[in-house]
Assembly symmetry: C2
Homo-oligomer: 453 residues x 2
Amino acid sequence: MSEASVAPTTPAPADLVIRDAVVLAWDETRGIHFLPGHDVVVRGGLIDAVQPTGTAVAALEVIEAHGMVAMPGLINCHAHSPMVLFRGVAEDVNEERWFNEFIWPMEVNLTEPDIELGARLAASEMISTGTTTFADHYFGMDAIARSTEETGLRALLGLTYFSSDGPAGLERGLDFAERWAGRGDGRITAALAPHAPYTVGHDDLVATARAAVEHELPIHIHASESRSQTRHSLDREGVTPIEVLRRAGLFDARVLIAHGIGIVPEDLPTLAGARVGVGSAAKGYLKHGTDTTPVRVLRDAGVPVGLATDGAASNNTSDLWETMTFFALVQKAVERDQSFLTAREVLEHATIQSARAIGREHDLGRIAPGFRADLLLVDLTGPRTQPVHDLAATLVYSAHSDDIDTTIVDGRVLMRGRRLLTVDVAALTAEIAPRLPRLTDRSHGRSIQDYDA
Amino acid sequence: MSEASVAPTTPAPADLVIRDAVVLAWDETRGIHFLPGHDVVVRGGLIDAVQPTGTAVAALEVIEAHGMVAMPGLINCHAHSPMVLFRGVAEDVNEERWFNEFIWPMEVNLTEPDIELGARLAASEMISTGTTTFADHYFGMDAIARSTEETGLRALLGLTYFSSDGPAGLERGLDFAERWAGRGDGRITAALAPHAPYTVGHDDLVATARAAVEHELPIHIHASESRSQTRHSLDREGVTPIEVLRRAGLFDARVLIAHGIGIVPEDLPTLAGARVGVGSAAKGYLKHGTDTTPVRVLRDAGVPVGLATDGAASNNTSDLWETMTFFALVQKAVERDQSFLTAREVLEHATIQSARAIGREHDLGRIAPGFRADLLLVDLTGPRTQPVHDLAATLVYSAHSDDIDTTIVDGRVLMRGRRLLTVDVAALTAEIAPRLPRLTDRSHGRSIQDYDA
């Protein structure tokens, strides 16, 4: 320390103080709990302090949040964000027709500019419904990365590939990761994104695992998406989809599994010993008439289960708050146990378990010093949420994403008073509208893949 | 006709014209369909005309609805509206504890002023979430009726009674009906509301049926609420709950059945031949870990199934739009059939089937000449609902009640631009807050009933 610095100095003002909120906090002993009358102090994109209101802090910007709940921004653990372009096109049809007659023929039509517009529309939906980080798995990932830079979200991005792409699939995925990881002021991180064990063969999975270890990248993959996929895998290969991944060495890397509905007891030792998480999209599972992620079993095995929307072509929204409510209620229904998964436990899945699922428990999913300043202010004064007897229950069972007043990522305000500050939705939808006839044209008879899981 | 009236006259101006909406219409051959660029003309609380925009009509008030969907107001077929006061108190506990340790002990605490405040809060929630008519079944019904008069909703109101009340229960129910039916400019109608076959004995059900026929009142009753109730009824009485009702003569009157989850095939001939409807509260069933209403079977039998929220102590909201989405997705899940219950069919349940369920198919549930002017304007320009490929899918699977811009009952605007015009929610919640400790006190050890179904 030089002598010049010995003199007492006034600390630089904080970038942002959120004043007089009810802070949703978490620790190992108490789990989710609430701190009324607290300020959240933000410096350099990080949470610097969480302290009782009244403690003096100079700040460049103050948001008065009296009575609002400040909670961690939601983390969407599995998305295909540009698929908002196709929401409502393929309705009330079975899974085989959904893929083969609608989605995969339409995806042939997507250009990179289409994908960028779709990603920006999804970003506007995510910001307005409380998602601050999303794990995306799609084509045209450069366009999604550009949208992420512009809209201010945080994202874990992986370029989808199939074995039908040949070795170029993984190469393009690696190339994307090298070019984009760390951009957007560090908000963009990258994953390798092989599509699924039924579309990516053993050798390509092995190559993916080796590349992931070498480049310290997580792997984001659809696996064990249904009980019937697990049965098919057992019939065809004699092992479960999770065992297919293990044999290829995937669990030498960190793995984010989309869906995991078909996970069976013999998979648990593998999963419990791995750096792995599962993203669960409870709304879409109901709509597709399938089972849901076996949350109780995964919780018991210590495997984090995060929330996900999947693509809006199946989920019809990118609204992760809505997923939270579906996730909560569906678990009680499938377990036939009203006491299973309390509202506080659901909030754990929506926050720290989602952060663990994507390997970011050290800096996302909590409002605590040293964590990224990704957070929401929720207004519970409306008639759907009054009176409040139990804040956790009000958030999970009564509130909608529409009750979110403010969305902040890395200390930057992306929505305030429900007004989006980084996307102009009206201009965007006007730009998208003339593209829709081309995007939904299926007369060409082509498809990006054939679904036969 | 007198000679003076032969001279051509200018018709009196319409009370209200909703201009340039996309009208959700229904007829026998086409089912649900949409009429873009149409005006809805309202006179004397009725829909006078639905006609292409551009047809000249003088009007006292015009609402510009360009691009918005005009749809019939939703009909909540089973509610306990003042229970909003208890939302979030009894969470994550089983049904027996929910009733015996929480709800029924707390209901002892309710005074008529409490009930009136709860009813007004529920009314504000219903208006803001698209319900225009609700069928309520509760205590302190005079207070709910007063709230209905003031807030402008339409309601079918029945005073709950048990056999433990003695003959006075039915008498008070009849007295309520005589005093209130037709009030609120005809918006209030009345029902007899025996609680359930397991709390109201045969003789009281017989007396209820006779009174309903004599006074031309419908009967609103919880029945066959779960498969286990049906099993218990078979064990105890040798017949199903529906057969208990039939033997007591209930189906000589019109009957509105809450839940009907335990309806079994042998009940269908009775139901198919009766003036009967079922109210289904799909969200609460998930939360309670129970089965859901057997919609496919009831549809096949021609029994109308309407939507319901039940009380907000189980459902956590009084948001019937949310129920619509849960109803749609849960049916696909339980039927394991993505193609079952299309979005258009779900909209039929939300509109004309709900109207049929409460016996009002002649004047509610459609935007057509001669029907009551109860309608909603829905704004689908937000990021969760764009782009729109299929209006029915967007409404059912993507939109939330928060996308409702305007709510109209009997031609009177109760919400406009999401601003409530007949209830001051902030004043109301401030008045409710100091009452909550007394309302949730269970130290007295009393209960309104003992649950043993």
